[in-house]
Amino acid sequence: MMGLLTNLRDSISRVTDRLFASEEPKRIGIYGPPNAGKTTLANRIARDWTGDAIGPESHVPHETRRARRKEDVSIERNGKSVSIDIVDTPGVTTKVDYKEFLDHDMEKDDAIRRSREATEGVAEAMHWLREDVDGVIYVLDSSTDPFTQVNTMLIGIIESRELPVLIFANKTDLEDSDVQRVADAFPDHETVPLSALEGNNMDEVYDKIAEYFG
């Protein structure tokens, strides 16, 4: 009798486990250094599958100073639907100097406020990475050197947490774009080239998202 009950309980919990495991959307963090195009990518994905955007894009670093979420984004691939929550995070850096914003035609008070918000945003992004994401899309500007300390540290942190990660070599529309350099910098991970701005290679992007995070 006890054995029967245990079996029953086990099979019920297996069913509910599976139910929740497949129903609960994976929370995918979009990470990377400032100005890699994270928000442009997040907006592209959100617009393609939900019709609306996540947040404003800009050339000024640290435009995104709060982690922004778009929940239950359903991506259709090969007749199947993959549901994810997108978390667009502030660009990670080890330094923020408000004086850099003064070059972008900003008053000192605004620059100081922006830098304070930026530091809070980076701290928040690190917290999300340690606690609250199930997978990571790591976005890099493929026209810049990928071999930076922030990239090395973040990929190390992601690996140590054993999170699935895809490297997105963004901005392939730029003349200096070098996708191979990005792939060489992170040989243990799959690199997907794209231009989030132009919408280039988005089919492969969605294939890979479904494959890695579905």
């Binding site: 330094k95 140590s160 947490r161």
Partner: protein, 127 residues
């Protein structure tokens, strides 16, 4: 850290041994590093930090940045040795191979000139 006279015409460099760090908790390590860096010192760690400690270092650094006083840190280390040379038992026990020389300094005083797998070249200036 022994009291030193950080004279006007020099830059203090602290080389911290792996064994010194091994006896400290994560937050104690981060405090040791940031206290040194905020005084304008260059801190060199013989064995570096774990990924988790690096993420906390970034987080704590961010909370301490303040205009015209502290603009953050510059940190450089060699890429972590590939996990291939790490045994299954090490992974199981949570032992991470983190032995990698790491240089940390105030962002406004240290500038990385060149970095590859085998060489880090940095320019250090006085405050």
């Amino acid at each position: 850290m022994p009291e030193t006279t950080n004279s006007d015409n020099g830059v203090q460099i602290d080389l911290i041994s792996g064994s010194r760090m091994a006896g400290l908790r994560s937050m104690e390590k981060i405090r040791l590093i940031l206290d040194g860096v905020r005084e304008g010192n260059i801190v060199i760690l013989e064995e570096g930090l774990s990924p988790d400690e690096e993420s906390k270092l970034i987080e704590v650094t961010m909370t301490e940045i303040s205009p015209d006083d502290f603009s953050g840190i510059e940190i450089e280390s060699y890429p972590r040795a590939e996990t291939a040379d790490q045994s299954f038992l090490d992974k199981l026990m949570g032992r991470e191979s983190t032995k990698k020389l790491t240089v940390i300094g105030p962002a406004n005083q240290i500038e990385t000139l060149h970095k590859d797998e085998q060489l880090i070249s940095a320019l250090v200036s006085r405050k």
